[in-house]
């Protein structure tokens, strides 16, 4: 929908912001559930037993950098530097996938090595639900970026004139990144460094 809109903002851009507001409440409920159950039920395996903060810090850094990469991709698209756009777009996808790879690695470590499954205790349940949901959001983001990348590479339909699609994807991507920062702080850091019941 082009033409004049009452605010000047495109409908889709407004929609994305409204959607992200809604998604905030979604993650807030999951984070709330996690916090309410923190320290309850069977305490081991608990956060201090399974978390490997150095490794997770690396994956967090990678995801943060993917946001930066996304900013570059958008900046180059708006300037019609399609080659540079494609490079940075690809790098965003790689970094997003790397983050997902780290998540898969982490989950398997917890599951096979530490005997922590969603069924084990309240920590397992709330941890996997929260981070799994976030991982699902990242996966959808990577697929979306993949579709845009494919459209650019094989159909050449992504230009500065059609930058709205990337603008929306970038907004979503940054949101998912910010949610991860909250999760990293509240679940990983808060879980291991405050000495909150860990033994």
């Amino acid at each position: 929908m082009s033409d004049e809109t009452t605010t000047g903002l495109s409908h889709r851009k407004l929609l994305m912001w409204v959607f992200l507001g809604s998604d905030c409440m979604f993650f807030a409920s999951l984070i709330g559930t996690y916090l309410i159950y923190k320290g309850s039920g069977v305490l081991h395996p608990g956060p201090a037993d399974v978390f490997d903060i150095p490794t997770t810090s690396v994956s967090t850094f990678v995801l943060l950098m993917s946001s930066m990469s996304m900013v570059f991709a958008y900046a180059y698209l708006v300037r019609d530097d399609i080659k540079a756009f494609r490079i940075w777009m690809f790098s965003t996808m790689i970094m997003g996938s790397t983050f997902l790879g780290f998540q898969v690695f982490e989950f398997s470590e917890f599951y096979f090595h530490d005997d922590l499954s969603p069924q084990t205790n309240l920590f397992g349940t709330t941890f996997y639900a929260l981070t799994g949901t976030h991982g699902l959001h990242v996966t959808i983001g990577v697929i979306w970026l993949g579709i845009i990348f494919y459209s650019s590479l094989f159909r050449n339909t992504v230009t500065s004139k059609t930058n709205l699609d990337l603008d929306l994807a970038a907004l979503y991507w940054h949101f998912v990144d910010i949610v991860w920062i909250v999760i990293f702080a509240v679940v990983y850091l808060f879980g291991t460094f405050t000495g909150f019941p860990s033994s």
Binding site: L14, L15, S22, S29, T33, S40, G41, L122, A129
Partner: protein, 615 residues
């Protein structure tokens, strides 16, 4: 039907429909007016099914110790009755008006996302079918419409019923979210030139506030339902008391959603009353800014009162005191609205036609419901009222006497605009009086019976309790309500095609929808109006000395580009339904359903616009 092919990968050829008619026309429509009618008819049928469920409940309670309905079935009946009325009747009936009326009131040709709009209807239909099919597929949910843990867990509820409830609600949630996103963007971004937010008709304002409440509240119940589903299907521990879970988590999540939800249920009806009363009193709404402010305050405060549903759960005196105070406070803006409606009528020249009667009925009954609400807000005495028929009385005064009466006012008010014909006024008045008297006779005694100690959700009661007489009375009165609804159905059927022709503006209305023909042409406004004030249509009528002068239209009808039909919204909804049934029965279907959704959503986003000269 001429079509334009477009290219998908792998050289698949698919066509976008162009101006289809008949059934295919309805299945692919993206016209907000048609979607409104679809919502309205479907929701009304659901309302009737919920009514039947109610009649069965009341029949079982007509006398003590009856064995007409077995306890397990009874528990399913009250669960389905409430779930149906709230999610399948009141909300989509309101949505029917959001769809039909909002673009007309803001001077737009359609909503911001017409295909998303169609999708929200098909998803609603899917959710309704999932929910109601439970009756035929082995048993309906039986744990009440708020499904408290842990009785909803697989341990205590091994059958499929609760799964139907979870999936049905999730699909309905998707539908509601999609619709609300649409209306928020539409109301912010598609207003006619000159229509500032403070010149919006109050029905549009209430819709806007309702939609904002909805997009923030539904994610919370979505999470609660996901957690319950993970527990039931995959043995997670969210509500597993053996793992140390506290069932109160469910109650908190549910009511953080649930309280805003009741404002979602009442604000649209209040919006309708705020349209009908000024029109039939020939005066503007009294205190327009206060009405907007009051509704906004209600919406804001609605987030701060949720634990008044949990007063008896042992939160402690501090929490109980806080929530008592916030709940008492929320009565104030509600009272302001009541006084403003009185102020609107005061000094007016009031035509007590059927819409007006329903509004006045709304006011007098919502008042009673509001007063009993203040009674509940005192947590100390709520310890006696909670979980009794006193609450059931309150619920029905605000939802039936309130929301439903408001919706009926809207149906009668906008009937001429939607159908182009007048309803039968005598039948309308008869419908009102029977429903009004029936509602009061059915639900007023419940206040008394509740205070006499009758708990809710009980399939029978003893004869020595002092409840038998009033229960019998309530049941007979309930049958009267059903009769009143029957009168309404007869009126609708009789008048839809056979009523007197209505003309553009049968009520001498104040808002833009009355400035266009009835029923409106597909493009709504030939010329997008330029708005100079609140109640702009009234202003132009009052200012023009010669009412026959019609401004020569500047726009050629053939130049108006409308959103084009599409079948992808329907297909995405089909994928969603399959995925949903998969969670209940076999996860393979969930995979298939998600796959279908991925493909159809992609196809939707790549669907091109047909060439302009093809219609």
């Amino acid at each position: 039907m001429t079509t334009i092919p477009f290219k998908l990968p792998f050289n698949i050829k698919l066509y976008r429909p162009v101006s289809p008619t008949g059934v295919w026309g309805w299945l692919t429509t993206v016209d907000h007016k048609k979607i409104g009618v679809l919502y309205g008819v479907t929701a009304f049928i659901m309302f009737l099914t919920g009514g039947i469920e109610a009649m069965l409940i009341r029949t079982q309670l007509i006398a003590p110790e009856l064995k007409i309905i077995a306890p397990e079935v009874y528990n399913q009946l009250f669960t389905m009755h409430a779930t149906t009325m709230i999610f399948l009747a009141i909300m989509p009936l309101s949505a029917a008006f959001f769809n039909f009326i909002i673009p007309l009131q803001i001077g737009a040709r359609d909503v911001a996302f017409p295909r998303l709009n169609a999708f929200s209807y098909w998803a609603f239909l899917a959710g309704a079918l999932i929910m109601k099919s439970s009756w035929f597929l082995g048993g309906s949910p039986n744990a009440g419409w708020f499904g408290y843990a842990p009785i909803t867990s697989a341990t205590f509820n091994p059958g499929n019923g609760i799964d139907f409830w979870i999936i049905g609600l999730q699909v309905l949630g998707v539908a509601s979210l999609a619709a609300s996103f649409n209306f928020i963007v539409t109301i912010i971004n598609m207003r006619a030139p000159g229509m500032t937010m403070m010149r919006l008709p109050l029905f549009t304002w209430m819709t806007f506030i309702t939609a904002i409440l909805l997009i923030l509240a539904f994610p919370v119940i979505t999470v609660a339902l996901i957690e319950l589903m993970l527990d039931r299907t995959f043995d997670f521990n969210f509500f597993n008391t053996k793992a140390g879970a506290n069932p109160i988590l469910w109650q908190h999540l549910f009511w953080i959603f649930g309280h805003p939800e009741v404002y979602i249920l009442i604000l649209p009806a209040m919006g309708i009353v705020s349209e009908v009363l000024p029109t039939f009193s020939r005066k503007p709404i009294f205190g327009y800014p206060a009405m907007v402010l009051a509704a906004s305050f209600i919406a804001f405060m609605g987030w701060l009162v949720w634990s008044h549903h949990m007063f008896t759960t042992g939160l402690g005196p501090i929490a109980n005191s806080v929530f008592t105070l916030t709940t008492m406070l929320i009565a104030v803006p509600t009272g302001v609205k009541m006084f403003n409606w009185l102020g609107t009528m005061w000094g007016g020249d009031i035509d007590f036609k059927t819409p007006t009667l329903f509004c006045v009925g709304f006011m007098s009954m919502f008042l009673i419901g509001g007063i009993s609400g203040v009674m509940h807000s005192f947590s100390a005495s709520d310890y006696q009222q909670q979980d009794t028929y006193f609450i059931v009385a309150h619920i029905h005064y605000v939802l039936f006497g309130g929301s439903i009466f408001g919706i009926f006012a809207g149906i009668y008010y906008w009937f001429p605009k939607i159908t182009g014909r007048m309803y039968d006024e005598k039948l309308g008045k008869l419908n009102f009086w029977i429903m009004f008297i029936g509602q009061n006779l059915t639900f007023f005694p419940m206040h008394w019976v509740g205070m006499q100690g009758m708990p809710r959700r009980i399939f029978t009661y003893d004869s020595g309790m002092g409840w038998a007489f009033w229960n019998g009375f309530e049941t007979i009165a309930a049958y009267a309500i059903a009769f009143g609804v029957l009168i309404f159905v007869i009126n609708m059927i009789k008048s839809w095609n056979g009523g007197k022709k209505a003309g553009d503006d049968p009520w001498d209305g104040r808002t833009l929808e009355w400035s266009i023909p009835s029923p409106p042409p597909v493009y709504n406004f030939r010329d997008i109006p330029i708005v100079k004030s609140l109640d702009d249509f009234w202003r132009t009528k009052q200012n023009s000395s010669n009412s026959d002068t019609k401004v020569k239209s500047k726009t050629k009808v053939t130049d108006i580009h409308l959103p084009q039909p599409s079948y992808w919204p329907l297909l995405v909804a089909v994928g969603l339904t399959i995925a949903g049934f998969g969670i209940i029965y076999n996860l393979l279907f969930t995979g298939i359903g998600i796959g279908i959704m991925l493909i159809t959503v992609c196809a939707w986003s790549f669907e091109p616009v047909n060439e302009p000269d093809s219609h």
